[in-house]
C-alpha cells in the first residue's frame, strides 16, 4: 500500500516534472521562434477607416490564410483621378513571411483592364508585423480590383 502510494506519488511527481518540462520547453521554443525577427506593433486606430470596404476571399491555401491575414481593405480616389487600394496584411505566424501579390483592375462591367501595372510584386512581413500593399488603378474607369496572393515556399 505504502509502496503503491509511493509509486503513485513518484508517478505524480514524474508527471508534474514532465508537464513542467513540456511547458518550459514549449515556452522556450515559442520565445525562440517568435523572438527571431518578430516585431511588436502599436497603432492608434481601433475602428475601421471611413474608406474601408468589404472584401471577399477565396481560400485555396489554408496555411497562408491562417498566417497571412488581410485585415482591412481601403479604397480611395487619388489626386490624379484613378482609384487607389490599400490592404493591411498581418503576419500572425512565427516566421518571417515572403509573399508575392498582384492586383488586376476591373471596370464597372466587371471586365479586367489589361495594363502594364498588373505585375507580380514581392514583399516581406516579419512575424507579428504587418505591411500595407497598395496599388493604383491604370485608368479612371477602373472601379474594382482582384488581388492574388502567393506565399513563398522557402
Amino acid at each position: 500500500m505504502i509502496c503503491t502510494t509511493n509509486v503513485t506519488t513518484t508517478k505524480s511527481s514524474a508527471h508534474r516534472a514532465l508537464r513542467a518540462t513540456t511547458v518550459a520547453t514549449f515556452i522556450t521554443a515559442a520565445i525562440a521562434v517568435a523572438g527571431c525577427g518578430s516585431v511588436n506593433t502599436t497603432y492608434t486606430r481601433t475602428t475601421p477607416a471611413d474608406s474601408a470596404v468589404a472584401a471577399q476571399t477565396r481560400v485555396n491555401d489554408l496555411f497562408q490564410q491562417i498566417f497571412l491575414t488581410a485585415k482591412e481593405v481601403r479604397m480611395n480616389r487619388t489626386k490624379g483621378g484613378p482609384m487607389e487600394v490599400q490592404i493591411d496584411v498581418e503576419n500572425n505566424g512565427f516566421a518571417y513571411k515572403t509573399f508575392s501579390y498582384r492586383f488586376d483592375w476591373v471596370d464597372t462591367a466587371g471586365n479586367v483592364i489589361p495594363s502594364q501595372l498588373s505585375v507580380w510584386k514581392v514583399t516581406n512581413v516579419p512575424s507579428g508585423g504587418s505591411t500595407v500593399i497598395r496599388a493604383i488603378a491604370p485608368s479612371d474607369d477602373a472601379s474594382d480590383f482582384r488581388l492574388q496572393l502567393r506565399q513563398s515556399e522557402s
Binding site: T78, P82, S100, Q116, V119, W120, A137, S152
Partner: protein, 196 residues
C-alpha cells in the same frame, strides 16, 4: 558484381529526375522565374515600370499639360549598373500603357537625334511645302529622363544588391522638374534561384 552495380546506380537513377528540370513556359515577370543576385531580372524591370506608371497616374501630372493628351519626349535613361540590359524594356512598357490608354503621346520626331528620323524628315518637308506658319512641329510638354544605379555590399558569401530606378519628368515650358519617382529593389543571397 551485379549487386554492386545496382547499389552504385540506384541512387543516381533516383536523383536524376530531381536534378533536371524540363523547359516550360511561365508568365513574364512571374514569381516562378529565375532570380539572380547580381543582375536586374525581368521581374525587377516590370516592378519598376509598374511603380513608375502608378506614380504618374496617382499624381495626375500628365493631366496638367497644355496638350491633351500630354506630349512626351523620351530623354536619356542611363543604365549605370553592372547588369547589362536594355532600358527600353522598361520605357517601352511605360509608353505602351501611357500612349494606348490615351494619357500621353510620345513625340518620336523631336530634337537632333529623333527616334523616327524618317517621320521627322517627312514632317519638315510638309512644313516647308505648306509655308512656315502652317502645321507647327510637335510642341512637347514634358521630357522623361532617368538613371538606374546599384549599391553592392557583401558579408562573407552573402551578397546584397540594391537596384534603384529613378525617373524625372521635366516641364519643357518652365524647365522645372514636375515629377520624380524612385523604385528600389534589394536582393540578398549567395546564389541564383528559381522562384521568389
Amino acid at each position: 558484381m551485379r549487386i554492386r552495380s545496382v547499389i552504385v546506380l540506384l541512387p543516381i537513377a533516383l536523383l536524376a529526375p530531381v536534378a533536371c528540370e524540363r523547359a516550360r513556359y511561365v508568365d513574364t515577370g512571374s514569381p516562378e522565374g529565375v532570380i539572380t543576385v547580381g543582375n536586374v531580372d525581368m521581374q525587377d524591370i516590370l516592378k519598376a515600370s509598374s511603380g513608375m506608371l502608378e506614380s504618374l497616374a496617382e499624381t495626375g501630372v500628365l493631366k496638367t499639360a497644355k496638350n491633351k493628351p500630354a506630349q512626351l519626349v523620351m530623354g536619356e535613361i542611363v543604365n549605370d549598373t553592372s547588369s547589362r540590359f536594355d532600358v527600353g524594356e522598361m520605357t517601352y512598357r511605360m509608353r505602351e500603357q501611357l500612349v494606348n490608354s490615351g494619357q500621353a503621346a510620345v513625340v518620336t520626331t523631336f530634337g537632333n537625334t529623333p527616334e523616327d528620323k524618317q517621320a521627322q524628315e517627312v514632317l519638315r518637308r510638309e512644313k516647308f511645302l505648306k509655308g512656315e506658319t502652317s502645321e507647327p512641329l510637335p510642341d512637347p510638354d514634358f521630357s522623361l529622363t532617368g538613371k538606374i544605379t546599384q549599391v553592392k555590399r557583401s558579408a562573407g558569401d552573402t551578397k546584397q544588391v540594391t537596384y534603384t530606378f529613378r525617373l524625372t519628368l521635366t516641364n519643357l515650358r518652365s524647365g522645372l522638374e514636375v515629377w520624380t519617382k524612385t523604385v528600389d529593389m534589394t536582393k540578398l543571397g549567395n546564389k541564383n534561384a528559381v522562384g521568389f
